[in-house]
């Protein structure tokens, strides 16, 4: 009697139908990732080891066997390492201050992190070429302060490159660290102090391990972005600091050597995958 008044119960779809629907839902994304991402990368690997005469490792021999190109690989790694180091040294302490900030101050600080993300890399690199010119603001300020007497050459130096790269990739370091630090319970440090740990011991045995996931995420992100940066070295240092990224662009856009460019791409890809794999492993490891 009462049952008739209720709407008919929703028939539970069978497990097979649900699974089929799920597969249908992921199909478009699967096609994109498989067809426009995975397959082309496999093809790239093929292009780097196959030429008109069949299988060849000449491209890799040239890349990893000649001093000039070893220097190019090292330039990329050096750019990645220095940028990551500087970004970390600034971001880590700053994240703690940011986590303590409240109200308007926090909004202002957060805005300074997000605003640069809204500006394209090209715009920011362009700004640094203006800032670092010999008659630019940085030189004029240093001269006005009496730190230097004559303008120093900054643009097209490694210093310019690293300062610009650190500036552009910094938000990717501080955001993951801040996300962890903001959730950190301050009582951990207090508990360590109560149990007799000095602030230094408390930092290295309690705070640092707890914030490690944020550090790993930030380091992996900034390193993989800066090691493969193209616009930043092109505008801030140019020809005299060739990197894997600029070598790839040159091989494809100017020299028409797709095999060699593909090999350089595979090496850059291998570096990126190694960083991702290493960071995934590190953040899974039990403390």
């Amino acid at each position: 009697m009462t049952e008739a008044a209720l709407p008919a119960p929703v028939a539970a779809p069978s497990v097979d139908r649900e699974r089929l629907a799920a597969i249908g839902f992921v199909l478009p994304s699967f096609v994109i990732i498989a067809g426009v991402f995975a397959l082309p990368l496999v093809l790239l690997l093929g292009v780097s080891i196959v030429d008109a005469n069949g299988l060849t490792f000449a491209n890799y021999k040239r890349l990893l066997g000649t001093p000039y190109y070893l220097g190019v690989v090292w330039n990329s790694l050096r750019l990645g390492l220095l940028t990551t180091l500087i970004a970390f040294l600034i971001s880590y302490p700053a994240a703690f201050a940011l986590a303590r900030a409240r109200g308007a101050l926090r909004s202002v600080l957060l805005a300074t992190l997000f605003l640069p993300l809204a500006a394209s890399v090209i715009v920011k690199a362009f700004a640094w070429t203006i800032l670092l010119r010999s008659d630019g603001i940085v030189n004029e300020t240093l001269m006005a302060l009496g730190i230097i007497e004559d303008p120093i050459r900054m643009i097209f130096t490694e210093t310019a490159l690293i300062v610009g790269a650190a500036n552009i990739f910094l938000p990717f370091m501080i955001l993951p660290i801040y996300a962890i630090v903001a959730q950190l319970d301050r009582r951990y440090a207090e508990a360590a102090a109560t149990l007799g740990a000095s602030p230094i011991v408390a930092f290295f045995r309690v705070i640092l391990p707890l914030t490690l996931p944020g550090i790993i995420a930030g380091v992996a992100l900034v390193f993989s972005l800066s090691v493969s940066a193209y616009v930043v070295p092109t505008l801030l240092i140019g020809e005299k600091y060739p990197t894997l990224a600029t070598a790839i662009a040159k091989a494809y856009l100017l020299a028409r050597e797709p095999g060699f460019g593909a090999a350089a791409g595979v090496v850059l890809l291998a570096i990126a995958i190694a960083v991702v794999a290493l960071s995934a492993r590190l953040s899974r490891e039990p403390k």
Partner: protein
């Protein structure tokens, strides 16, 4: 000791804020330069560079192209990425975790490598029309942003709400539209903004697919900077930046920047 550490933290935070904001202020200031060189600090102000943006060689076609590619690729990614995220969140998909990782993995790949891989791949199948290749390529650029945000958003969504709505007499499409879509609106907005910006700003992938007549705005801008940088470029950069700031400000009013910090790690 602890006090010294706190002071160091604050000095770093304020230094960092100034360091990050400096290039943006410089671009904005340079756009009002009264002379064709970047004389800073300014000795006067002029808005004439803004009037010259439209006369930059090839500016309008490039702007139109970048907008088309960014809007279309974002729209397609929002649909396919959300569907995939639903399937992953419902837990009925075999190998859901692996697929979720695969969906966001293009984010960690060097853009330039993706660019040459796509160039080779498209050439291999004879797909060479620049406009279409750019659109297809930008799907891989935008999809990871949508997938990441929607997977995180749906993880917090309670699917029994849909069943509840249906029990109360709603049709299935009706309950999705009236329960699920409003609950996920903030995630859609964040996903849409990030994926639009990722496409609109992309240089390393587009450069390998563009040709002389089909150049996206970032390609044009780098070309202007390398050929003849003048304050017109600073004016254009300032306009793009202002547009983005307005977009972010509006979305902050709607969903909160703080929430964006949590989902963009």
């Amino acid at each position: 000791m602890a006090r010294a550490a706190i002071i160091v933290c604050w000095v770093m935070a304020i230094g960092l804020a100034l360091f990050l904001i400096a290039p943006l202020l410089v671009i904005a200031a340079a756009s009002f330069s009264p002379t064709p060189v970047f004389d800073l600090p300014l000795t006067g102000a002029s808005t004439r560079w803004y009037g010259r943006i439209g006369r930059l060689d090839g500016f309008w076609p490039s702007l139109l192209l970048s907008l088309q590619i960014a809007l279309l690729s974002t729209a397609i990614s929002l649909v396919s990425g959300t569907l995939a995220a639903i399937a992953i969140a419902r837990g009925k998909l075999p190998g859901a975790n692996i697929f979720a990782t695969a969906l966001v993995s293009p984010l960690m790949m060097p853009g330039l490598v993706l660019g040459i891989a796509l160039l080779q791949g498209f050439r291999a199948v004879g797909f060479t029309a620049p406009w279409a290749t750019l659109l297809v390529a930008h799907l891989v650029i935008t999809l990871p942003y949508v997938a990441r945000t929607m997977i995180a958003g749906l993880a917090r969504f309670d699917f029994t709400l849909i069943e509840a709505a249906r029990t109360l007499g709603c049709t299935y499409p009706g309950s999705v539209l009236r329960v699920m879509v409003p609950a996920l609106a903030p995630s859609f907005l964040i996903a849409g903004i990030f994926s639009f910006l990722a496409s609109f700003d992309n240089y390393p992938v587009s450069i390998f697919l563009a040709d002389v007549r089909t150049k996206t705005l970032p390609i044009r801008m780098l070309q202007y900077i390398e050929e003849a940088p003048d304050p017109t470029l600073a004016a254009l950069s300032t306009l793009i930046l202002s547009g983005t700031v307005i977009l972010l400000f509006v979305s902050d009013r709607v969903v909160g920047l703080h929430r964006m910090a949590g989902t963009s790690d």
